[in-house]
């Protein structure tokens, strides 16, 4: 055979092809998650330690006044539950980011990036897949928490779902954006110190904002500017069938900004980082 048979090439992709790609990426993320049992267990143990040990100790020390969305006095465990749900998503978002850096170092990321489908779509699929995995973790946490008398209204388990999806997307997009700027896996430890811990502690996850305002007005404003605070409040209100509109606007806006940033950073022609060849390549 001396010449290739030229068959006409379709331009663009059908909806079915987009859907196949999305389901394939979600399927792969789910498989990886199931293969990494210790990741699932640690994702659950972390918030449960906060709930069973930290909150039990603080229950006697910390008094809480009645603040929306709560209509009566609540236990401290009940107060921090939404923060712990958001914490699961925060860690999951950063874990996805870590896995993207690992995939890039190991070469697996190339499989994704040389797909002919648009790169923005591939990254969006990856984000949705990560969010789906975080939802599994959060609902597993809620199930265990129910036995600890943390029982929101039954409808809350449904009404919180859109809030969890949106906050999961925001934190996943943030992780993706961060991963685009990390060149080596070793640098990821910095993410723990400079992103996860400050975001979690400088938020309303552990204490109500009015209490923070009383002790440190400056920290209060830091918390207000922290998108994680708004993710926590969005989840807290949604768990009781209510919408915190400011939180919704901030989380929605941040999701768009982080996602656009991540797509921009992963665009080969405009990336934020100057890329060189991988180790050992020429």
């Amino acid at each position: 055979m001396t010449s290739a048979t030229i068959r006409p090439i379709r331009s663009g992709f059908s909806l079915a092809e987009y859907f196949t790609c999305l389901s394939g990426i979600v399927w792969r993320e789910a498989l990886r998650f199931l293969h990494q049992r210790e990741r699932f267990i640690s994702a659950l143990v972390r918030p449960l330690v906060w709930l069973f040990i930290f909150a039990a100790g603080f229950r006697q020390v910390l008094g809480l006044s009645i603040i929306p969305p709560y209509e009566t006095y609540i236990l401290y465990e009940v107060y921090i539950a939404p923060g712990l749900m958001a914490m699961i998503q925060l860690f999951n978002g950063m874990q996805s980011s870590l896995s993207m850096v690992y995939d890039r170092e190991m070469g697996n990321m190339r499989t994704l990036l040389v797909s002919p489908l648009p790169r923005w779509f591939l990254l969006s699929c990856k984000l949705l897949a990560g969010t789906a995995v975080s939802l599994l973790q959060v609902y597993a946490f809620l199930l265990i928490a129910w036995f600890w008398d943390i029982a929101p209204p039954p409808a809350g388990y449904l009404t919180v779902l859109p809030a969890l999806i949106l906050s999961g997307l925001m934190l996943g997009a943030l992780g993706m954006l961060i991963s685009s700027g990390i060149k080596q896996l070793e640098n990821f430890a910095g993410v723990m110190n400079f992103v996860i811990f400050p975001m979690f502690f400088a938020s309303s996850a552990l204490y109500p904002l009015w209490r923070i305002l009383e002790s440190s007005p400056m920290l209060y404003y830091v918390c207000q500017f922290n998108p994680f605070t708004h993710a926590v409040e969005l989840i807290r209100f949604a768990l009781y069938g209510q919408v915190n509109w400011i939180a919704l606007a901030v989380v929605g806006g941040c999701t768009i900004v982080f996602m656009v940033g991540a797509i921009y950073a992963y665009d080969p022609s405009r990336g934020l980082i100057r890329r060189g060849p991988a180790g050992g390549e020429t």
Partner: protein, 273 residues
């Protein structure tokens, strides 16, 4: 007029394959491509074409710029200067159409070690929008062809180096590309595994009409009838049929021809690096 000239003239790249004579369109056209990492120039104004249904060897020392070129062709890096076309589709302007025609085996392993052989193939198929039923059928086909049918359910982690490479080639063929790029595909393999892979890839050219660009630094992987491109320090030093390149340099074989072109001191029969 070269196909790349037509691309740069601003035509609608998506229409080109249907309007041009098939024989006129190169499988791969590299035209005036340069790439730098900061102040370091990795590729300097290189240009060549790969003919349809041909085996073209890209020979170069480590550091010649082969992997950078592959990253540009596959759009992992943005093209800073020049044009790259795959069967007439400009990689920068119509990446979807171009990448659909391209299968690639990178120098580092890109398989997911925790997934099974079939799961890796199904994932790749999904990334190309191939429906699950079709993907399963194609997976069985390609695994049978490369002799890994009995390992379909095995974890990739449990495969040997040669089997992983064969699986990567099978994966690159799953979406039925017309151009296959292989970057140092035999590095780290034993002599038999190297020969098996090289023979298999050559069969793809003769039996299926797939165009192959085979990047290597090993002289013995280059056949006397192959097309050859010599890349050195980011520049193309020679291109053409192997016999022609040898004759032009006045050497007796590819080894001496390469040494004369690059001024390197590799011993006969040894790798170029």
């Amino acid at each position: 007029m070269k196909a790349t000239d037509k691309l740069s003239a601003g035509q609608n790249t998506q229409d080109i394959p249907s309007r041009l004579d098939a024989a006129e369109i190169p499988a791969l056209s590299i035209d005036g491509v340069s790439h730098s990492y900061g102040a370091r120039h990795a590729l300097i104004d290189i240009g060549f074409t790969v003919a349809p249904a041909s085996f073209t060897a890209l020979l170069g020392l480590n550091g010649a710029g082969k992997s950078t070129l592959f990253s540009l062709i596959t759009r992992l890096f943005g093209i800073q200067r020049g044009h790259i076309g795959i069967f007439g589709h400009d990689v920068a302007r119509a990446p979807g159409e171009a990448l659909r025609l391209l299968g690639v085996v990178f120098q580092p392993r890109t398989l997911d070690l925790d997934l099974s052989v079939t799961q890796n193939l199904l994932y790749h198929a999904a990334l190309h929008g191939i429906a699950r039923r079709d993907a399963r059928e194609r997976s069985r086909e390609v695994l049978a062809r490369i002799g890994l049918a009995d390992r379909a359910g095995s974890k990739v982690r449990d495969l040997s180096g040669g089997q992983m490479r064969r699986l990567e080639i099978a994966r690159a063929l799953l979406h039925r590309p017309r151009l296959l790029l292989l970057d140092e595909a035999t590095v780290g393999l034993d002599v038999k595994a190297r020969a098996d892979i090289l023979n298999h890839v050559r069969q793809l050219v003769t039996e299926q009409g797939i165009s192959v660009l085979w990047a290597t630094h090993l002289f013995d992987e280059i056949g006397s009838n192959d097309d050859l491109i010599v890349l050195h320090q980011g520049r193309v030093l020679a291109q053409g049929k192997v016999a022609r390149v040898i004759a032009d340099t006045g050497g007796s074989d590819i080894n001496t021809a390469f040494m004369r072109l690059t001024g390197s001191t590799a011993q006969s029969g040894s790798p170029a690096s």
